[in-house]
Symmetry: D5
Subunit: 122 residues, 10 copies
């Protein structure tokens, strides 16, 4: 079961705007229809307002989906909502990239706020 209470946050080291990107290559959950495992990459990008998410706690939060039956679209929106609640960020983007199934691969993108100036031309 996704456990957002695992997420920890720390004070941003500066008031100046900056952008953080974390890419997790080893996300796995279960397909709610077949029970088979799904595998994907989760990318989160955000401009902190006052706090940043602690990396190890983010990993444990992602691990809590391991035996959860949940659709691609729901995973993506769930992560956006859980992180948005803890971060209250100026901008947050969650991108999920799912491995091939039957000749398909999929990507879901959920966002809050506007792309910050610091994210231009990275």
């Amino acid at each position: 079961m996704p456990r957002p209470e695992l997420l920890e946050f720390f004070d941003s080291p500066t008031d100046a705007p900056f952008v953080v990107e974390h890419v997790h290559e080893e996300f796995t959950s279960l397909c709610p229809k077949t029970g088979h495992p799904d595998f994907g990459r989760i990318t989160i990008r955000y401009e902190p307002a006052a706090v940043c998410v602690e990396l190890k706690s983010l990993k444990l939060y992602f691990h809590s989906f391991r035996n959860e039956g949940i659709f691609y679209e729901a995973v993506t929106n769930r992560i956006r909502d859980d992180l948005a609640q803890g971060l209250s960020p100026r901008w947050l983007q969650v991108v999920t990239d799912w491995h091939g199934r039957g000749g398909f691969r999929s990507r879901i993108i959920a966002t809050t706020g506007s792309v910050p100036k610091s994210w231009e031309r990275p």
Copy 2:
């Protein structure tokens, strides 16, 4: 014969805007002139209004082109029209990439609606 009636849809898990991309690497149809098989990749991207397309039904819909004689340009516009009718999306883009023939490769792009904000910088 393309069978849009195979397409199934489910309610979007959120009212917040987000974007979905499905890439199918194994599309095949027939050249209407020579009868030889054509092979390509189909990419669909959309911002759902109220419903999403179910992935397995999308696969079966694509399989229904397998023995159909149809030009690149017609395939692309046909898929856009069939999906637009079922999804009534805020935005929909269909990109088809066709394998090399005689030293050529081709790409066709058909769109409805405007690129959504969530699709910036993916």
Copy 3:
């Protein structure tokens, strides 16, 4: 000798705007100075107004440059002009990429019309 009369056109399958890209990896002509063969890739992109160019006729048209002595810049502008005359497109872009010569590689880009909306984020 370039033979634009080889180009054939067919009616666009839809009135809705869409974009076509054809990439030809096997273009060859001769250097007018040395007589040595030049090799390159020709990319054409266009938004049809009423007609599309037939792929096989495009190949034969490109083959007609095989023993022609002509500069990179002239090839590019010649193709743009020949295609623009037959297509009367909303937008047309011709990009030529030339293999390395003496540690150099070159690209020439010639355009008519404005980048269409359908070509955003392909």
Copy 4:
């Protein structure tokens, strides 16, 4: 239904030993269990004894598997047997590489004869 009678052969242009490799990226057949399409790459390598296989006839022979329900292992051995009968080669190797299914990809290799000297260090 696989149609080996489509295969055509021509006399080898030399008595000196040499090796031929043809790679076909667009093989498709059907899974005999599910009826879903399988996609793969077929590589054939051989040292001709007296005849070579004609390339276009090889393509048509491969196309004849398009709507055939047949397992990976059977496709590979069937192609080896059909080609070995027509070529009577000094050496023949058939390698099939199958696209991902459920996180798996597969390769089957069937051979007759010994790797020829001409195939060292290709």
Copy 5:
């Protein structure tokens, strides 16, 4: 808990020697020390004596390691032993490739029998 009883086998389609390779990109188990998930690729290669392993049953067998705490070296040898028992193959090789941990990546190789002639120059 690894469940070798899930493995199913079918008769080889030919008496002629050939080689099979299956690559599974989505293996996951748990580290027995930390409980954190491990991720890896499992490659099996074998020359069948009389039977082949059925692909879907192989996938389910691999899934049975999902919540098992087990070391890299033990996973590799366990899979070799389970498959060798069911296949009685002429040759069997199991290669496991494990994702990076702390700047390390690892590969374990366990084998029974000798590399068959059909596996030369694949």
Copy 6:
């Protein structure tokens, strides 16, 4: 301990605007929590106002982080501040890309000023 006093600057060779990018692939510091080494790539991009940073002095400045315990976010903002003080640039962007840890990789971006016109389409 980071030693910004190591940084040296030289007069820009022109008054015309231009952009400089330096990419350092071999940055290493220590994790302040575990004491384990972190490794990353540091990219700095700037439009000089009057002075440029001397490359060898930049290398020595980066080396001064070698045995410093400091978080990703703090490294990035520290470098931006140290360089901004010495360069007084029209634009400065610092991008740090950190190697994988536990299936994660991270990027932090800190900026001062606006993307200059010379940086379009690089």
Copy 7:
């Protein structure tokens, strides 16, 4: 010693706007501090007003830097100035990419004029 007098120019084959890009992978000069050779790639992009630069003369001009001691930033601005004088272009961009030195690689960009419309989406 850089010899801009080697540069030759020819009349543009058309009045219609187009863009030219030449990439030279084999630029070498000397470090004015150490005397050691520097190696890099020079990319020039321009929209001709009335004339184009002749490719072979450009090569000889670049060769004239071979035994010259000159900094990265100075090379880039020197080339921009020499070419701008001969071309009087609507737009000119010079990008230099320098090989790794001590774990660093560098890029300098110097421009005159505005990115032309023909250079959109190349």
Copy 8:
């Protein structure tokens, strides 16, 4: 028409055994059936006995196939024979790699002599 009389040779600079490899990426001839151009890469490898082939003359020799209708297998054996006659090499290998046609790509290998010791582990 292939013109082996264009080939020039020079004395090997040493009596010690060594190996030479030349790769030509821009070979083109015509299909004798359809008249359409074929494109490929020609690799020659040899251990000189007393003479080496001069590179520019090799290029002109290859150019002499430009408007010749000739099959893949014949090109390969023809080049081996023409070079073997002029070089009398200790070892010679000609590899031709042909671009995709109808989903196929092909490679032909013709050899004289045995792989020399100097070619181990290149």
Copy 9:
């Protein structure tokens, strides 16, 4: 100072021969001449006799070179000797790959014992 006493070993899970490979991408030591950091990748491969090296202890052992001035050749032979003493392996190979310095990159290989049969065709 290299600290081989950090290395820990555990009993091999099987008596059957198998091979282990660990690749560490983040090795760093110091140049004994200049004091500047060196960076490299260390690959160890071995066939265990009775024990395996514990991965985390191997990492800490590698970290103990961080502030040590030592040449490439000496690092490689030192690691081989330290591991050979603890493992008493049937086969051990240490490969070090060093990042570019002044346009050079280097690899050193030190071995004890003979390549085992299980390492064929990995």
Copy 10:
């Protein structure tokens, strides 16, 4: 003028056999026919008998070819001879890879001694 007297050697750190490989990406000399610069990569591999070549001296030795007119084949054999004289190695291999010229790229390999056991499976 090539200056082998620049080469310096140091005592091998061990009596146990091992192998060294240095790859230099930035070799440049002049074509003795045209005076135009040639660019290439030089790879040297050797098993030391008693001494190793010092890396910086190797670089300076390579730089001494910068303004020398010399053919590919002669460069390769010259380097082998100069290094063999100083190293008296158990095995030495010199591989030169030359950038494209007129659609060609070339590789020359010169060797003394036999491939050592330590170089198996690198």
